[in-house]
């Protein structure tokens, strides 16, 4: 059951009006223009024990992602593909509003948006994850861990997930005579086969303005958000309207243009993070 949320920190009307006045001049309180994301910092390999990991700072928002890889059985209807699972935890240290407990609808929605954005373009080539067809495949767990929630968890989580997957290496393994697979945790094997990188760009609508990468204060006064997943070729590979408002057809089209433009900033940050790793 989904319930109208009780406490998005309620922003006085006056704040919203002042904010709209600024947007009218093309500028935001943190000195950004409307279409530029916050500062991005991506660090990979931050959890040595995980097969892949990354910490992303998007402004003051911090999200970590870890990739764990185990041997499992494939799904019945896809015997020739590995398994990808995306899970998000909004741990209570990340926000005064998060309570301990199983993932709520926001964490579930986030994980499913990241999951679909990866899955629909086969960003990780699941066909390359088969050990023994129909029997044994690699199972990838992407665990998103929100550490400091200061707005736009979507883009930060997608970046962290993508960076962690790019960082990940399949573990080495041995096949026993019994057919059992023994994973050798310490030994890092091949990198994952990534067919394309994907990012999401979140656009918030405040009054009649569309802004890219809203921070927490902006989210609290936004009417609605549109999360747009974009791949390296600029194709739209996923989308989700989120929040209790609506959008006109024209606004949606405009948001897509903003998303495609801003995606290049995210892709550049991803490139640098990986290059940094190899360098």
């Amino acid at each position: 059951m989904s319930i109208s949320p009780f406490r998005p920190p309620i922003t006085p009307l006056i704040v919203k009006e002042n904010y709209l006045a600024m947007l009218g001049k093309g500028v935001r309180p943190d000195n950004r223009d409307l279409k530029t994301p916050r500062l991005i910092e991506i660090k990979t390999g931050v959890v040595e024990k995980a097969e892949g990991s990354a910490l992303v700072k998007l402004g003051d928002t911090q999200v970590m992602a870890g990739v764990k890889i185990d041997v499992g059985a494939p799904f019945k209807d896809t015997p020739d593909q590995g398994v990808l699972m995306v899970h998000a935890e909004f741990v209570p240290l990340a926000s005064p509003l998060f309570e301990p407990g199983p993932p709520d609808e926001n964490a579930i929605e986030l994980a499913r948006i990241v999951d679909r954005s990866l899955r629909e373009v086969n960003a990780v080539d699941l066909g390359s994850l088969v050990i023994r067809k129909g029997e044994k495949v690699w199972t990838l767990w992407v665990d998103i861990y929100v550490l400091d929630h200061n707005g736009n968890l979507y883009d930060a989580s997608m970046l962290a997930s993508m960076a962690a997957l790019l960082d990940a290496r399949l573990p080495d393994f041995e096949e026993l005579e019994t057919g059992e697979i023994v994973v050798k945790r310490g030994v890092r094997g091949e990198p994952l086969k990534i067919t394309t990188k994907v990012v999401t760009v979140t656009i918030a609508k405040i009054g009649r303005y569309l802004i890219v990468d809203p921070n927490l204060e902006e989210e609290s006064i936004a009417d609605v958000k549109l999360v747009v997943a974009v791949d390296e070729k600029g194709r739209i590979v996923g989308m989700q309207k989120s929040g209790a408002g609506g959008l006109t057809h024209a606004e949606i089209e405009a948001a897509l243009d903003l998303a495609r433009e801003a995606s290049t900033v995210y892709f550049k940050a991803l490139e640098e993070a990986i290059a940094g790793r190899r360098g």
Partner: protein, 247 residues
């Protein structure tokens, strides 16, 4: 995830028709009915082909189990739920992650439409049960919710309706069924309130070019206009069914 298409399944015929004989822009036969339950303050049944969803609305009311209410408007509570017998394999009745997400997405499709500010400190409950799932359940659920809210007399800015457009063998088709969803390349569920020009639900699963997306959204909005017109007829007469060229 790529599920292999069964042999012999032709999604788009050489003549440009779909696996069930529809044209790309053709909706499935649709049935709508309101006032189907005695207890609920408002209720409705909606069928898109074999997809069947029922809706009940209770409220505005005080909730049975107390929880913090909003001081300035009604709280919407939406539950999208699938009957265990609605799917190919029996569905565990405990809410899945998918159902939790769709409950949120549908609630947010209704929030912009309901005049919640008229009933502060109350709850409006919207319960949606998928009785049979054959593709497009979330959009049929929005349509059913819209009818049940109107049937309950809840004041609304406009009626809202939903439909899913798909991309199947490269062709954009409206109101996809489960087969087209499973073996198609993209699924674009849309809900909108045509009378006020607002899209209130929008998801995309799959890949579209910029141009395809614009066309697909247009197709969805055209179809939704027909669906909302049909909602209006249903609210007048209690029951309406239509299919093929009538739509």
């Amino acid at each position: 995830m790529v599920v292999k298409k069964p042999e012999g399944l032709v999604l788009i015929t050489p003549e440009g028709l779909r696996h069930d004989g529809r044209r790309p822009d053709e909706l499935r036969p649709i049935k709508m009915e309101v006032g189907i339950f005695k207890n609920a303050d408002g209720s409705a049944m909606v069928e898109y082909g074999k997809t069947r969803v029922i809706a009940a609305v209770y409220g505005p009311r005080e909730p049975i189990q107390k929880f913090p209410l909003l001081p300035d408007k009604a709280t919407l509570r939406v539950r999208y739920h699938m009957a265990p017998f609605s799917t190919e394999e029996r569905k565990n009745p405990a809410p899945s992650r998918r159902e939790i997400e769709l409950s949120k997405v549908i609630r947010e499709a209704l929030e912009p439409i309901v005049l919640t500010e008229e009933y502060p400190r109350t709850v409006i409950d919207i319960f949606l049960e998928v009785i049979q799932a054959d593709g497009g359940t979330r959009t049929a659920a929005v349509t059913a919710a819209s009818l049940a809210l109107a049937d309950a007399g809840v004041p609304m800015r406009a009626l809202v309706g939903g439909v899913a457009v798909g991309k199947v063998d490269g062709v954009l088709v409206v109101d996809i069924d489960e087969t087209e969803d499973m073996y198609g390349e993209a699924d674009l569920p849309v809900a909108a309130a045509p009378d006020i020009g607002l899209v209130t639900l929008l998801q995309l699963n799959g890949v579209m070019t910029r141009e395809e997306f614009s066309r697909a959204l247009d197709m969805a909005l055209t179809a939704i206009s027909k669906i909302v017109e049909m909602e209006k007829r249903t609210l007048r007469s209690g029951y309406v069914e239509a299919g093929g060229s009538e739509l």
